[in-house]
């Protein structure tokens, strides 16, 4: 089981300043996620799921508390170091895919490697390999608008994957997809989790999507109200394979 905790949150708080004063969104979050785990974060709208995800993804900074990612304290880092973590340690998958509309699929996938300073030829070959791995061989030269939503999300996963991250963060990855396509995408995620040992954290409000994970964290009003393993028998991964 988990060798070491790849994500550790201690008494993490996040509040937004508004005209009416500080509005707390996350309150005293304590959470540890081990390497190789797959965790679903659930909760009603406005419970702070996305805010938590943005902080985990080093896109946003907590108001107080500690966040240790892969052994280093993110709270104390400057912007460039966080950018480096986003590039090397994390892979982010969004609900809206967030591909660059004017770049073809292989260029989209290769983009993180550009910022990692990988030479051009290697970028291209690694991006093509990764595209093939998510089942999009032969689509390298297509534009995002020329492929389906499910395929776009596969491209986004390939982009998250291309720089060999330790953690993939997926914020409502199936929110814009139909049920069938959602199943395909979730199977891809759990395959990556199982085969590559990539830690998976996903936010969702769909039970059937959460069932692909091994652990479920419930968030209500910025607090963790429950945190329990999903029984193996109920895990959709077991059912599908």
């Amino acid at each position: 089981m988990p060798a070491a905790d790849v994500i550790v949150l201690q008494r993490l708080c996040k509040a937004y300043a508004t005209a009416a004063g500080a509005v707390p969104v996350l309150r005293d979050i304590d959470l540890s996620i081990g390497a190789g785990e797959s965790v679903a974060i659930m909760g009603p709208s406005g419970s702070g799921k996305s805010t938590l995800m943005n902080i985990l993804g080093c896109l946003d900074v907590p108001t107080s508390g500690r966040y240790v990612l892969d052994g280093s304290d993110v709270s104390a880092m400057d912007g460039d170091t966080r950018a480096r973590l986003r590039n090397r340690v994390l892979g982010f998958v969004f609900q809206g895919f967030n591909l660059l509309p004017r770049a073809d699929l292989v260029d989209n996938v290769a983009l993180p490697l550009l910022y990692a300073g990988v030479p051009s030829a290697e970028r291209r070959s690694r991006a093509a390999e990764t595209l093939a791995r998510v089942g999009l061989k032969g689509f390298e030269r297509y534009l995002p608008s020329q492929v389906s939503g499910g395929q776009q999300q596969r491209v986004a996963i390939a982009r998250a994957l291309v720089n060999r991250p330790r953690v993939i963060l997926a914020d409502e990855p199936t929110g814009n997809l139909d049920t069938h396509t959602s199943g395909d995408i979730m199977q891809l995620f759990s395959a990556l989790n199982r085969a590559d040992g990539i830690t998976l954290v996903l936010v969702t409000h769909q039970e059937e999507v959460a069932d692909y994970a091994h652990r479920r964290v419930m968030l209500v009003d910025g607090r963790i109200v429950s945190d329990q393993p999903i029984p193996r028998s109920a895990s959709a991964v077991e059912v599908s394979r």
Binding site: G57, N87, F92, L100, Y115, A160
Partner: protein
């Protein structure tokens, strides 16, 4: 990395072709204006300099002074106080190079059925040295011709063509005030003077001949003016002092009397003219630079729009690991490419415009490498300067805010 960024910038510009072209247009016009204006300014400067050179260098003219008779003050040159003797004495001064006395008069010259009114100047062979003038055909008259008051003439190009057409005038005889003169030479063309006079519309004859046979006065041996060339620019002041004391001594002027002659420094006048055109040239360039500035502001405008429009793209790039400086560099490069490309097209337009102005309107233009380089340097500086602010705004975005932008 820079190469990749350049490629990215290029793609983004191509994706927004219309916008890029409009942005560049400001730059194109600015650079074209700078190059064209500087070309016209420098062209004017060049023609002024050519006129100055055609006048001869380090020149003085010595004129007879003014005279007062019965309370009536006459203009300069009214009293013929200068003589050929004065000219000969000035020529002996250490700071003086060449000296040419001048006895000019306007009169009709006749050859066969043709006649022409021109300025006949009695002078010495040194005139050619003083005015930096060369002989195109034949030769100049000699000192011996001056001593013997020979009836020989050297024609300016305008006179030669008006009287002789295509014929070679050398060796032919023309009439000046009824007297026959043998043409011994034709001067090389000199063109217009600074004041627009045709310097080739003249006939040179020996000074003695002019004094005795053409423009006789009641003051024998006098000359209207003396042209003096100093040995060098550095000796101008010394030459003036030497001439003043020499002429005062020769004219027996008491210590408190005014000079009865007037020494004018022609080179100083010419330098003023050159200075004026230089100022004009700089001013034209400065005015054109303003349009370059306006072009730069246009670039800033578009880049700001572009940054706002691409907020989401910036967010995505940041989310997958772009650092602030990567974003900064990307937008800065776009601005610089836009301005350099605009500058390149502008330079072509400017040079083309200058060539066209020369071909169509005959305007003197000089396109120098310096003006093109300066325009380029200015344009890239403008690109960086006005590209920096939008690029910084892009780089300063919070990833989470940029991603949330719709």
């Amino acid at each position: 990395m820079i190469g990749e960024m350049l490629l990215e910038a290029w793609h983004s510009m191509r994706a927004n072709r219309m916008r890029s072209v409009l942005t560049m247009l400001g730059m194109v016009i600015g650079v074209a204006a700078v190059i064209l204006m500087v070309a016209v300014g420098q062209g004017a400067q060049m023609s002024v300099n050519a006129s100055i050179a055609s006048m001869g260098s380090n020149l003085f003219i010595v004129l007879s002074g003014s005279a007062t008779s019965g309370g009536l003050r006459m203009g300069t040159g009214a009293m013929p106080t200068l003589t050929t003797g004065d000219a000969a004495a000035i020529a002996e001064l250490p700071a003086v190079g060449a000296v040419a006395p001048m006895v000019p008069g306007t009169t009709q010259v006749v050859y066969g059925p043709n006649n022409w009114s021109t300025v006949v100047v009695g002078t010495s062979p040194d005139m050619l040295t003083v005015r930096d003038w060369t002989i195109a055909r034949g030769s100049a008259f000699s000192e011996a011709d001056v001593r013997s008051a020979a009836k020989v003439a050297v024609l300016g190009q305008t006179v030669a063509s008006n009287l002789f057409g295509d014929q070679d005038p050398v060796g032919r005889t023309l009439r000046i005030k009824q007297s026959p003169f043998v043409v011994v030479g034709v001067l090389a063309a000199k063109g217009q003077s600074l004041t627009g006079q045709d310097q080739d519309d003249t006939v040179l004859v020996p000074v003695t001949t002019a004094q005795r046979k053409l423009f006789g006065t009641q003051f024998p041996g006098t000359v209207r003016l003396i042209m003096v060339q100093a040995r060098s620019a550095a000796l101008m002041r010394q030459a003036e002092q030497e001439m003043t004391s020499l002429l005062r001594q020769r004219h027996h002027l008491p210590a408190r009397a005014d000079n009865d002659f007037d020494i004018r420094n022609l080179t100083a006048l010419a330098n003023t003219a050159a200075q004026t055109t230089r100022v004009m040239s700089v001013m034209l360039g400065a005015i054109a630079s303003v349009s370059l500035l306006v072009g730069g502001i246009g670039i800033m405008n578009i880049m700001l729009v572009s940054v706002t429009e691409r907020t989401r793209e910036i967010g995505i790039r940041m989310a997958i690991g772009a650092r602030r400086r990567d974003i900064l560099l990307q937008f800065l490069l776009e601005a610089v490419i836009l301005s350099l490309l605009g500058c390149f097209i502008g330079a072509l337009c400017g040079i083309g415009g200058a060539v066209a102005a020369h071909a169509l309107a005959g305007t003197a233009v000089v396109v120098t490498a310096v003006s093109v380089l300066v325009a380029f340097a200015l344009a890239s500086a403008v690109g960086v300067f006005f590209g920096y602010y939008p690029a910084r705004r892009a780089a300063a975005m919070q990833p989470v805010d940029a991603l949330r932008y719709q």
